[in-house]
């Protein structure tokens, strides 16, 4: 252990300091082992990785939702513009034929289309939540990466990782965050239906 810590060319530090540091590291290693901290550290590191995945899932899903809304708003605005154009034509026709009621109706359509457009703009702007929350999520993900990195480093010093040992999964896992490469989950409704059909449901 101490060999890992001693730098190649220490400047101004005495060898005793590094020897002392090496001993402290050894003691930390033994203490962590005795307390059974290693396995808990491993579990924490894994939880952090899982938490990062879940945050990215939130980021992706909110992004997709905002995207869908923006597309719908753009299409609805086109419809609104068509209503406005039709109302203008109706107003002109009413004007030519001297039909006051038609003109009034056209004016009403105009006013409603304008209000609709205003509300659609509000809906469009409200999608900025994705940018704002996404920035916060990115910061938390960066923090989780730092923490995970530190934990893994501590873990490597305390004890070698034991592959193949995983904690028991929670009773309910929630949405699948990374469906690719997973055989224990379905990735869409088609697979749900297939699975149920294969079981005779």
């Amino acid at each position: 252990m101490s060999a890992d810590i001693a730098p190649a060319a220490p400047s101004g530090a005495s060898p005793e300091v590094f020897h002392e540091l090496g001993q402290l590291t050894r003691q930390l290693h033994d203490a962590l082992d005795k307390l059974g901290v290693s396995s808990r550290l491993a579990a924490s590191a894994e939880s952090l990785s899982d938490a990062r995945g879940r945050l990215r899932y939130i980021e992706r899903k909110t992004g997709e939702a905002a995207d869908k809304v923006l597309t719908a708003v753009e299409l609805a605005k086109q419809d609104g513009a068509a209503i406005t154009a039709a109302a203008s034509r109706l107003a002109a026709i009413g004007d030519e034929a001297g039909l006051d009621e038609t003109k009034a109706l056209a004016g009403l359509l105009h006013a409603h289309a304008a209000r609709l457009d205003e509300k659609l703009t509000e809906i469009m702007l409200a999608q900025d939540f994705h940018d704002l929350t996404g920035q916060v999520v990115a910061r938390v993900v960066a923090l989780a990466i730092d923490l995970e990195d530190s934990l893994v480093k501590l873990l490597v010093r305390a004890a070698p990782a034991e592959p193949g040992q995983r904690g028991t999964d929670a009773a309910l896992a929630g949405p699948v965050i990374e469906p690719a490469g997973r055989s224990d989950s379905v990735k869409d409704q088609g697979e749900v239906d297939e699975l149920l059909a294969s079981l005779g449901f």
Binding site: D67, L70, M124, L125, Q127, D128
Partner: protein, 141 residues
């Protein structure tokens, strides 16, 4: 249209070419949508400062709307690069960002930002800031 040699660029909305810079596609789409509603339909997008700078050096743009916090090259770095480039230094740059700290706003002003809008913002705010910048540019020096 070259703003630097034109004084009647403001009313009605002239056909200016915008570059919207933001790492979030949602926000680029919102800003593009708002600019279109105001009357500017010629809008390109870049996902960070580095991409934006490349586009600015290889195309003709009249106005930049940029986020601040972006990977690769931040909005402040982009702004600095624009102001340090002889062919781009007069380009209007409006910062649109969630960074609301006073020191950031001051830094933007010192670096040469033409305006600063804090997210979340309204259509009226964006329009007012863009118009104000254009009016200043169009006014005789």
């Amino acid at each position: 249209m070259d703003l630097r040699s034109t004084e009647d660029a403001v009313n009605p909305p002239a056909q200016l070419k915008f570059l919207v810079v933001d790492d979030f596609a949602t926000m680029r789409r919102i800003v593009r949508g708002l600019l279109r509603e105001i009357g500017w339909t010629d809008v390109d997008e870049a996902e960070d400062g580095a991409v934006a700078l490349h586009m600015l050096r290889n195309g003709k743009y009249d106005f930049v709307v940029s986020d601040v916090n972006m990977p690769n090259m931040t909005g402040f770095e982009l702004l600095k690069a624009i102001r340090g480039d002889a062919s781009l230094k007069h380009l209007p740059v409006l910062m649109v960002t969630a960074e609301a700290r006073k020191e950031d706003i001051l830094l933007a002003a010192q670096t040469g930002a033409s305006g600063y809008v804090v997210k979340p913002f309204t259509k009226a705010t964006l329009e007012e800031k863009v118009q104000r910048i254009l009016q200043k540019l169009a006014a005789p020096a």
